[in-house]
Symmetry: C2
Subunit: 309 residues, 2 copies
């Protein structure tokens, strides 16, 4: 069954085995391998009133791939495990899974299916690092930021949160060609895209720390600060044109990347040379690890808190 659903994607190259056996067999180069798993639960990570199962599948895959982007890596393989009620429209779910895999250039090589009361998709992703001057590039953690480093993001924030608000208010999903901030925000919520190119350019440019903003800048920047042992001075957080300032600060699932660097000019030039949108400054790291400020005042606690975090 898993093999059948995955059969919509191109099959394995010679020497590899994908779905249909006890384990998938893939060929890898020596060096660092990136591994991450993300669980998306219907009703927790996706509002079934405004999203289809295809959206749930897409979002689960994009969210997992974003973890590879946040390390500066290239995505390789996906394993997609689904547990849900027996009447789940798996075809629709896998339409989103396969669409997101194809969009990001990842191969679905295996999975599992089980019954459960609530629909849940677990996506495992593997990634590798591109070639650097001396062997593979070194993955970028969230713990390398230093006092004085500038903090930048790969784009304006809050689009996905605004999209959810607009969908709940009755905004229809965008047609293929719809443009403008509203269509853009709805698309950001339904069909987010991992910033793989941006992460790789930032890695190559030598950023000191990086992570994806899956839970919102307010929370995630604090996590980077804690991991790096620095303070946080956020200023002029750039909001997506459809988003409120609160959505820009607290809205997760944009999958924009947060980067710390001592050489912001060099980073902007690297993005420009790669033809990517100019990264936007959101503040700086401070020496006092206790600092959490926003535009000179205290940083409000905002963002997606996991129940067990």
């Amino acid at each position: 069954m898993v093999a059948e659903l995955i059969g919509r994607l191109p099959g394995p190259p010679a020497g590899e085995r994908w779905a249909g056996d006890d384990a998938a067999v893939v060929a890898v180069d020596a060096g660092p391998l990136l591994l991450s798993v993300d669980v998306a639960v219907l009703g927790v990570h996706a509002d079934p009133a405004v999203l289809g199962l295809d959206d749930l599948g897409w979002r689960a895959v994009a969210g997992a791939i974003s973890d590879v982007a946040a390390m500066g890596g290239e995505v390789r393989h996906l394993l997609v495990a689904v547990a849900g009620p027996a009447d789940t429209d798996l075809d629709l779910l896998y339409e989103g899974v396969v669409g997101a895999a194809r969009h990001h250039g990842a191969a679905v090589v295996g999975g599992d299916l089980s019954s459960s009361a609530q629909l849940m998709v677990s996506v495992t992703v593997t990634g590798c690092m591109g070639a650097g001057p001396r062997g593979p590039l070194v993955p970028v953690g969230r713990d390398g930021a230093r006092p004085g480093d500038e903090l930048l993001v790969t784009g304006p924030l809050g689009a996905a949160a605004a999209g959810l608000r607009l969908l709940r208010a009755g905004q229809p999903g965008p047609g293929g060609g719809a443009t403008g901030p509203v269509a853009d925000a709805v698309r950001a919520h339904r069909r987010p895209v991992a910033r793989l190119a941006e992460g790789a350019v930032a890695c190559r440019a030598g950023v000191s720390a990086m992570m994806d903003l899956s839970d919102g800048l307010g929370l995630d920047a604090s996590r980077l600060a804690v991991a790096s042992g620095v303070g946080l001075d956020l200023r002029d957080v750039p909001a997506h044109p459809a988003a409120t300032p609160a959505e820009a600060l607290g809205g997760g699932e944009d999958y924009e990347l947060l980067m710390a660097t001592a050489d912001p000019d060099g980073l902007r030039r690297a993005f420009e040379r790669a033809g990517l949108p100019r990264p936007l400054t959101v503040g700086a790291c401070t020496a006092d690890a206790g600092t959490r400020s926003l535009d000179g005042g205290p940083l409000p606690v905002a963002g997606w808190e996991h129940p067990w975090d």
Copy 2:
């Protein structure tokens, strides 16, 4: 939180990053990488009336690792994603996860936590192949069996199914030192062990096909036959001393391995040299792909049918 729970296990070697960042970073050698994911749902894959959450965690990990054993591989990394109600005893669950990881020599390098109505554990496993005479060994699929190949299993069957029956009848869980068929069967259900050593020896000995008996011999042997395009003539299926013949044929989750080979004597000698229990013959592969026989009569349909298979 994931990092904290996993913190009970030894930390990463130099150059690797495990839980706590967007993705784990592990070092791998060039060659075939094995990947598999298994989902265990409380109430579906584990009866909460007789099993603890530590048992659920152990079983989920052992079941995933068994997929690596079934390819002839060595286990390396685990990613453990949990979704469940907020009052879930995660400490107890992870006690089982960590115990099984340690028992099988696997490293838990990452995971995810989410809330959901029903407790679910998704375990992703990676594995690699040991060294053969000319580079890494070739993973063994379930599709290589040929007519005339003998079919063997790594031990008598039905222990886990018998253990579940005994637990439901009030049999207490075995103490550390309990011995005998009943304690053995209960242990097989609560704390199954993947046959990693057996799988590697079988791979090195050149078996033509292999898989683990996670869903019972009746179903799994049929899957091997379909994948290989052969028929199935089962005879004298060896039952565990605590198991009924029906449990031996239909009981899954024993994680014994099913192997096909044209040289059963060579396979038995290889197991003997490795100090492993002698594999037991359960039948042979036939040329007529439609054959499904048991002791000369028709093979009854028995085993764990997944809802979507």
